[in-house]
């Protein structure tokens, strides 16, 4: 082997050893980072509200978060815990699930802060692990990072990658909670895989510091996190004040036009009506050169968030000096900032009206060219609901302004007035409603309130045999050596029915009823025999010609059997029902047809779970449709009346926890239900 070869082989070996050592070092670093942050990861399970179709509907969602203090404050995304969230459950590193309460939210940065109810832990002496923020300004492209969270609502998971971009901009913006998050945020782009469920989890550097909060999967291996330098001040302010206060001027700026010839400044594209900027005399087309002592230059959309943050971070009510250029001349303007209004107006449901709606924000007022914010705007309308049935109908985007001549300025006034009008009324109340549709003032009559829609009809009562059957096809008859015999073969005889009482057995072949031949030979003719039975009077006895296997194969013996037809059992939708509004589920008595459809055993006691409202306490406890509740806290449930008594007693005593023993199919289970009892 010559010297050159030996030299290069030596270099290769040295490189490999160095690489192995690098990998070893990286692993050690990662382990340190994991040790610091991983125990502070939480999985959120929330119940949120979705407003559509004139109704508030609950749903469940999952996300991630990270504990940032010993008191139990945790950070996540606003889109995980938004204003509609009613319940928050948190799985911590010990795998315990405890509840949490909202401290504050900021849709503009997509951040929410909650406080875990640490006192609910089984062992309160275990110290709470929490993580700390690092500075995202120190992050460089190529830096290794870890993404931590609960992807797909599974247990805590870590993925690794590198920083791909420290100032990722989304030129099309990103709307969350009525806000454009891109106005404030330039993201950290990275390639550590995150999936639905990772939202709100931390992006961590190798020093074990939180440098971002994961927010978006952009496709492929590109993901985005909100930088910690944006997150941390928001979190501190929310913990201190419960919200984030920002200044607003009414100015909208964009990058300088390419043909403007300007080198410095930002183009003023819009000045909001009646805003501080309008009052100061700023006009669209002005070039903003200086804001409160800071020179401004916006050449690209990536520069905009800095300007937005500069303005938003100005103390509210401060007198700010602006330098603008107009027609080649420099002008000085002064404005006084105002508090920036939250864009989300907060949608609510008006059940008595069949719509969801909200108060008007200032922006909505301006968009609708109104002079004040009085009224309630309609967002969604329930099909067949009170608003839709009004004559003329009230529609989406209409603004209700008065009811029976009384002005309605906001949702609180409308709710109070509705309560007065419908109190004690068993039927809907007609009211005169004035509403604005665009620039027009309309009037209508709406009947608001509730009426009982739960009256169920009855099914026509007919005779019932209590057996299922198949048609004796000509081919089958021939094989069974029943040539020229037509009829039906019983496949099952149900217990305690006319068929069983008459002595019919599965396998019997019925060829005539009350002297009428059952003229069937094709499988699709099953209804013929059913109809023959249904036309017979209940309570009367009719003779059936039956062929029964005598013992030898294909040796059928003919016999005549009298059958007294009984009335058909009540169908499932006629069984007595009970709706539990605390736990939000509906049950009914077990029907005979639950037994014939193999959903229950014959004579089984209990109540049948018919519906479980999504997002309700029963749904959270994983009570399923089709289960049979057989006992409650050890007390056997015989029927719906017995169940109602037990549940009313539980409600009266406001029991913290109730345990159902349920059966579904061939399996049994215990379901623990908890709820927050209404005051």
């Amino acid at each position: 082997m010559n010297r050159t070869r030996i030299f290069f082989l030596s270099l290769l070996l040295a490189g490999l050893l160095a690489g192995a050592e690098n990998v070893q070092n990286s692993r050690l670093e990662a382990e340190k980072a994991i040790e610091k942050v991983f125990p502070a990861i939480v999985r959120f399970h929330v119940v949120y509200t979705n407003y559509e179709g004139g109704r508030a509907r609950k749903g469940e969602a999952y996300g991630s978060g990270v504990i940032i203090s010993a008191e139990g404050y945790a950070v996540t995304n606003y889109h995980v815990i938004d204003r509609t969230v009613k319940k928050i459950f948190c799985t911590i590193s010990t795998n315990e699930e405890i509840e949490a309460d909202v401290v504050g939210q900021d849709a503009l940065t997509d951040i929410a802060v909650v406080k875990l109810r640490l006192e609910e832990r089984k062992d309160r002496n275990i110290p709470v692990k929490f993580a700390s923020f690092g500075s995202s300004a120190k992050v460089n492209i190529g830096d290794p990072i870890l993404a931590m969270g609960s992807p797909r609502a599974l247990s805590r998971t870590i993925t690794a990658g590198i920083i791909g971009n420290t100032k990722l901009s989304l030129p099309y913006g990103m709307n969350i909670g009525w806000e454009n998050v891109g106005a404030m945020v330039l993201w950290l782009g990275h390639d550590a895989q995150i999936l639905p469920g990772n939202s709100g989890g931390p992006l961590v550097n190798m020093q074990g510091e939180i440098i971002g909060i994961n927010e978006l999967g952009l496709g492929g291996s590109l993901d985005a996190a909100i930088p910690s330098d944006v997150v941390e001040p928001v979190v501190r302010e929310i913990i201190k004040k419960g919200k984030v206060e920002r200044s607003w001027t009414g100015l909208t700026c964009s990058p300088l036009l390419k043909n403007s010839g300007e080198q410095k400044g930002a183009l003023v594209t819009d000045v909001f009506k009646a805003s501080p900027a309008e009052a100061a005399g700023v006009e669209p087309g002005d070039i903003l050169l200086n804001y409160d002592g800071s020179d401004i230059t916006i050449n690209f959309s990536e520069d905009l968030p800095f300007f937005f943050r500069l303005v938003a971070g100005t103390p509210i009510g401060k007198e700010v000096t602006l330098k603008v250029k107009r027609g080649g001349k420099e002008l000085v303007k002064t404005l006084k900032t105002r508090e920036r209004e939250i864009a989300d107006p907060g949608e609510v449901e008006f059940k008595e009206w069949g719509f969801t709606g909200s108060n008007l924000t200032e922006r909505m007022m301006r968009q609708r060219k109104r002079t004040n914010r009085d009224g309630v705007i309609v967002f969604t309308v329930k099909i067949g609901g009170q608003c839709e049935e009004a004559k003329p109908a009230i529609k989406q985007n209409d603004i209700l302004v008065s009811v029976n001549g009384k002005a309605v300025k906001n949702i609180e006034e409308l709710k109070a007035l509705t309560g007065e009008l419908t109190k004690g009324r068993a039927e809907p109340v007609p009211v005169i409603v004035a509403f604005d549709r665009e620039a027009e003032r309309w009037m209508t009559i709406a009947k608001i309130g509730f009426k009982d829609i739960n009256k169920s009809s009855e099914e026509a009562k007919k005779s019932y045999l209590g057996a299922s059957f198949q048609v004796l096809t000509s081919g089958l008859a021939e094989q069974l050596k029943l040539k020229n015999i037509a009829g039906v073969m019983l496949t099952c005889v149900y217990k305690n029915t006319a068929a069983e009482k008459a002595g019919l057995l599965a396998g019997d072949i019925i060829t005539s009823l009350d002297g009428d031949n059952i003229a069937v030979s094709r499988p699709e003719e099953t209804e013929v025999f059913t109809n023959m039975i249904k036309k017979k009077r209940t309570g009367q006895t009719f003779e059936m010609t039956v062929f029964r296997l005598s013992g030898e194969p294909a040796d059928y013996r003919e016999m005549k059997l009298p059958v007294k037809f009984e009335r058909s059992p009540a169908p499932k939708d006629e069984m007595k029902k009970y709706e539990d509004r605390n736990f939000e589920f509906t049950v009914r008595d077990i029907s005979f047809f639950d037994y014939t459809e193999n959903n229950a055993d014959y004579g089984e006691k209990g109540v049948f779970v018919e519906t479980v409202q999504p997002g309700g306490w029963a749904a959270l406890a994983r009570l399923n449709n089709g289960s049979i509740i057989q006992s409650v806290d050890g007390q056997k449930v015989e029927d719906i009346d017995g169940f109602i008594s037990i549940m009313e007693e539980a409600a009266k005593n406001k029991k913290k926890r109730i345990v159902f023993f349920v059966k579904k199919g061939i399996y049994t289970d215990f379901i623990q239900l908890e709820c927050v009892w209404p005051k």
Partner: protein
């Protein structure tokens, strides 16, 4: 031999005259029924709901019903107001019958029914009794008191092939829910699973049929079209609406009469 053309011509003229006379009679029957039907065939406005994955979804459906007595009892085809059957019919009409198997497992409910009278007045009503085998339902006003015009319903002989029929239905709200009709004739008689007949041309369910004498003859109902057929090529039987003759309807009318 010379008289033959004359005889044949005379015979042809006689045939035309007979046809004209009967056509005039049928037109006259139609006109009278249209006049009476304005107050005796009501529009029905229904809000129904389906329950799928524990989520309730409302749907609005309109149909028509036949007034049976002065108290306002109305006969209607259940499938013309049931949301699940309504959706199955729509999907079948779009050639998507294969997707209806799952729909049949969905629970549904009639939440609200109103009569819309010819003068636009709405009367709150409720579903009283159904016969899902025969696809029938009986509705009554929520509150008694108002008097209604009605058609007398009596048992009739089974219609024969080629018998002419008048089919009445209400148009949609865009056409002011006007009463309209088409004329047709019986082109098929079924004996299984029960006595049904078919008429020329496709009909939606819920149409009200009268015979040449102006007597109520039947209701168009939904029958057949099980899932296996809906996937087959060729003519889909889910679109063929059967006519349930009066004889099959009398029992539910009697049961409804016994209920308040």
């Amino acid at each position: 031999m010379k008289k033959l053309p004359g005889i044949l011509t005379g015979f042809a003229v006689l045939l035309l005259l007979v046809q004209a006379v009967f056509s005039d009679e049928f037109s006259e029957t139609g006109k009278q029924l249209l006049e009476k039907g304005r107050s005796r065939i009501v529009s029905l406005k229904v809000v129904a709901s389906t329950l799928s994955k524990n989520q309730k979804e409302e749907i609005k459906i309109e149909s028509q019903g036949l007034l049976l007595d002065e108290k306002g009892t109305v006969l209607v085809a259940f499938s013309s107001i049931d949301p699940v059957k309504y959706l199955i019919r729509m999907l079948s009409a779009l050639g998507m019958g294969g997707q209806t198997a799952n729909l049949k497992k969905i629970a549904s409910n009639i939440d609200d029914i109103k009569y819309v009278l010819d003068n636009g007045k709405e009367v709150q009503a409720r579903l009283v009794i159904t016969d899902k085998d025969l696809d029938l339902a009986i509705i009554k006003p929520e509150k008694p008191g108002e008097k209604f015009d009605f058609f007398e319903v009596k048992e009739l002989e089974k219609p024969a092939l080629f018998d002419k029929m008048l089919v009445f239905f209400r148009l949609s709200k865009d056409f002011n829910r006007e009463l309209s009709f088409v004329s047709t004739s019986v082109n098929c008689r079924l004996s299984k699973p029960e006595e049904l007949f078919l008429v020329e041309g496709g009909l939606p369910t819920g149409c009200i049929l009268f015979n040449q004498q102006g007597r109520f003859a039947g209701l168009s109902v939904s029958r057949g079209g099980e899932e296996e057929d809906s996937r087959s090529l060729g003519m889909s039987n889910t679109l063929v609406t059967s006519i349930l003759p009066v004889k099959e309807i009398m029992d539910i009318i009697k049961q409804a009469g016994e209920k308040k």
